[in-house]
Amino acid sequence: MPITLTVNGQNRTLDIDPDTPLLWAIRETLGLTGTKFGCGIAQCGACTVHVNGKAERSCTMPVSSVDGATITTIEGLASGGVLSHVQQTWLDTQVPQCGYCQSGMIMAVSALLAEKPHATDADVDASITNICRCGTFARIRRAIQSLTATSEGGA
């Protein structure tokens, strides 16, 4: 049975093994490689995407379980070449080092701030559990604080 998804605003029909994790459907079937493979067991968060607006780790989520869902990936955050508020703040703060985990970080932070524009440090600590091995945490913290300090939040 084909699976239908709305990905970054486009309707897509996928005729693949229903067990395939959403991550690999996004990366290989849809060719959107900005979403990264890091662990395959929902521990590191590199594969974070939005499923119906909620941050989810796509590497352990069978594509069959999200049939009909609306998916946003890192490629879908910018609009007409204009970066989202979170992405632009990430760039202004020069957060990424190798950059591999940052798609997932940005997706996780975007979802959190959409829900809680003025998230506290405690909210952030509880919610942003993604792994970064380069050690960009000081700048991630600074970028989030500058986002929560503004009235628009992360929207």
Partner: protein, 718 residues
């Protein structure tokens, strides 16, 4: 960041200045390294090895180092642009391709002081050797301090001189009367001026000066400023292509399971059922692994999971972390002897194996076509990756076209000699030829088949006189070490460190800061124990012993001031200090920790003062120190690979824990500009972290941690 593809297909060809020349005096005269240009230099606008200027007024800097998060490509381009007086907005960065012409040239300079008259021959000789060995390394915190300092500056200055010479001819004036700013040459008296682009075609015909005049650092306008990295837009919008992201027409996907015990071989595997699974093209028996090749990666993974391969253990099945440390303990024997009558301090220190655990698991794509091949990956040495693939395929390196992609972390895992995943992909792709094959290691494979930071053990003894003045501080150590481990900046009459051998079968390799990571901890934790035994403040104890090392003293005093050393803290909190030198840079750190009554650790802040001589890009320099601190803290607090039954016990991020945002301290970084040679920054912030934090825990609780990671210790007061 763009890759240089135009000339990649032209091949290595004949290169101008391609050999040592016998000069008129009979002396061997080498061409200058930066004068090596391809035959089509005039059409490409190649003023010298590193600098291209084209009629569109764009300066392109070719960077012979990869980008793995350290920001070196931007910093190196800044060093060249500064000397050229180029408009930074008109400068483009391209990673040099995996061609012999871009082999390492200047790395030897970081280790040897070369007299002026020999510099040219030394750099050219290094380049010829690197060509021969196929080395194009990014590592050792070397990019800025070697290639930047000796290559990019000189290449930039040479390009500027060539452009000015061309301008002077065109204007009919003397070159010395021309001024350069913002990619434009101006002759003030005549009012004539021309852009770099307008002069490009004439400049490329000028000879490449071997010793162009370099800028006085006081005149820098671009260096010592904060410039955004040019590659970061692609790393916030998802468009950057890492090794794992590469795709090409007709590409198949491979997944592997490798013999779990290092050195083990595949004994048997029943492949029949897996071969019939959807999408599976082939199940391959490799010497040390079984591989499934399928249409998609998930199909390959799913089929692989159904296999039950049998591997042998190469005779190492009884080895564990306990047996390895027992062997270390035996090799170390009695502690170093201390003078009689002194107060003697003795302590053993241990650190575990550590994985690089780059966020991007090992990944590579290879396409074999007849007796040629194309290879794509993100590694720390394109030329070595190329020759690794060539060797696996039994063809010459020049028959392999290698393209380096973005690296999702390196930390030493992707240095030459550690490209086992490239070798493995080539072997699989050879069988599947002509189909291209992408191999992605699972996190489990990555975690269990690394080249680990060596586990190590040190046995210290130190002696103090009645007044608390240290007389001796010596150690034996096992598990890895070298000369850099022995240095202490302290005026102690008797200082020794001697390696004792105790071999094991676990694969080890360079890990961010290499052996400094163990010895930085050992030495700076032990000196803290000596300060305590001397009943002295740990900062003052160190400072008073730094009389012969004013740079160390300045760093120590600076970081103590930053951290408000000595200001009283609440009960359960403490500060710890540590200082190390590595890769040409001195880093002092003060950690501030809080230990709750139930023994829970919080690292509140870490301050760092850094003397790396001078700073190129102030923002990326700061980022490297911040990142190094977090990387070092993740290791000291949580990081541990243990060996059981000859294999790695951990398999993924659920049982190999590492730092996340909630555990990350506030970080404050300041630089000291000294007259010292410019130092590296990718690694030097790592070594002091473990000691700064454990010394802070001691200050807070009285618990002295001598075995890492910290998470294994109880922090409840004894």
């Amino acid at each position: 960041m763009g890759k240089w593809t135009r000339r990649a297909f032209i091949g290595t060809g004949a290169l101008a200045g391609g050999g040592f020349v016998l000069g008129v005096t009979g002396a061997i005269v080498a061409p200058s390294r930066h004068s090596v240009r391809s035959d089509d230099a005039e059409s490409t606008g190649e003023l010298n090895t590193w600098i291209l200027v084209t009629p569109d007024n764009i300066v392109t800097v070719l960077i012979p180092h990869c980008e793995m998060g350290q920001g070196a490509q931007t910093a190196l381009a800044m060093m060249a642009a500064e000397e050229m007086d180029a408009d930074w907005n008109l400068v483009r960065i391209k990673e040099a391709p995996a061609l012999d012409a871009y082999a390492n040239a200047y790395i030897g300079r970081a280790f040897l002081s070369v007299p002026g008259p020999l510099e040219r021959g030394f750099d050219y000789g290094t380049y010829r050797l690197a060509r021969l060995a196929g080395l194009q390394i990014t590592g050792g915190s070397l990019s800025v301090r070697s290639t930047g300092h000796y290559g990019m500056r000189v290449g930039g200055a040479a390009a500027r001189a060539m452009i000015v010479a061309a301008a002077a001819k065109q204007f009919g004036v003397s070159a010395s009367e021309c001024a350069v700013a913002n990619s434009r040459v101006t002759h003030a008296v005549s009012g004539k001026s021309a852009t770099f682009g307008e002069l490009a075609k004439a400049a490329v015909k000028e000879s490449v000066p071997s010793h162009p005049a370099l800028k006085d650092p006081n005149a820098y306008t671009l260096r010592r400023t904060a410039q955004p990295r040019r590659d970061l837009r692609s790393k916030v919008d998802g468009s950057a292509i890492y090794g794992v992201d590469f795709t090409t027409a007709g590409m198949l996907h491979a997944a592997v399971e490798i013999a779990p015990v290092f050195g083990g071989k595949l004994v048997s595997v029943d492949t029949a059922a897996a071969e019939k699974m959807p999408g599976v093209k082939r199940v391959l028996k490799l010497d040390e692994a079984v591989a499934v090749v399928a249409d998609t990666y998930w199909q390959a993974r799913k089929a692989l999971a159904t296999l039950e391969p049998q591997f042998d253990d190469a005779g190492h099945g009884a080895v564990s972390s306990a047996t390895i440390f027992d062997a270390f303990d035996k090799a170390l024997g009695a502690p170093p002897e201390m003078p009689s009558g002194a107060t003697v301090v003795k302590a053993d220190y241990r650190v575990p194996f550590l994985p690089h655990a780059t966020m991007e698991p090992m990944a590579c794509t290879v396409k074999v076509t007849g007796d040629r091949a194309e290879v794509w990956a993100g590694t720390q040495d394109p030329l070595n990756s190329r020759s690794t693939a060539a060797k696996a395929l039994g063809i010459s390196a020049t028959a392999v076209q290698y393209t380096n992609l973005a690296l999702g972390g390196g930390f030493g895992r992707k240095l030459p000699g550690y490209h086992d995943f490239v070798d493995m992909t080539a072997r699989i792709a050879k069988v599947m030829s002509p189909a291209p094959v992408k191999l992605i290691w699972s996190r489990e494979t990555d975690m269990q088949h690394g080249f680990y930071r060596p586990a190590a053990m040190a046995r210290f003894a130190g002696a103090l006189d009645a007044a608390g003045v240290p007389l001796a501080a010596s150690c034996f150590y096992a598990g890895g070490g070298d000369g850099e481990s022995t240095f202490m900046p302290y005026a102690i009459a008797e200082k020794n460190a001697k390696a004792r051998e105790a071999k094991h079968h676990v694969r080890t390799g360079p890990w961010r800061s290499v052996l400094n990571s163990q010895h930085g901890f050992f030495k700076e934790a032990f000196i803290d124990e000596m300060a305590h035994a001397a009943k002295k403040d740990p900062f003052e104890f160190r400072r008073d012993l730094m009389t012969e090392h004013p740079r160390f003293k300045a760093v120590l005093e600076k970081v103590a001031a930053m951290a408000k050393w000595g200001l009283p803290l609440p009960r359960g909190e403490g500060r710890g200090i540590a200082i190390t030198e590595s890769f040409g840079s001195i880093v002092g750190q003060v950690a501030h920790v809080a230990v709750s009554p139930d023994g829970t650790l919080k690292v509140k802040s870490i301050c760092a003062a850094v003397d790396c001589g001078d700073v190129v890009n102030t923002d990326t320099a700061t980022a490297q120190v911040e990142g190094g601190i977090m990387f070092g803290l993740a290791a000291a607090w949580l990081g541990e690979i243990t060996i059981a039954d000859g294999r790695v016990a951990q398999s993924n991020f659920h049982d190999f824990k590492t730092l996340i945002l909630s555990g990350a301290p506030l970080v404050q970084v300041q630089f000291i500009r000294s007259d010292a040679h410019i130092g590296g920054l990718g690694e030097p912030a790592v070594p002091p972290v473990a000691a700064a934090v454990t010394n802070a825990i001691f200050a807070a609780t009285g618990v002295r941690i001598r075995s890492l990671p910290i998470k294994n210790a109880s922090l409840l007061p004894a």
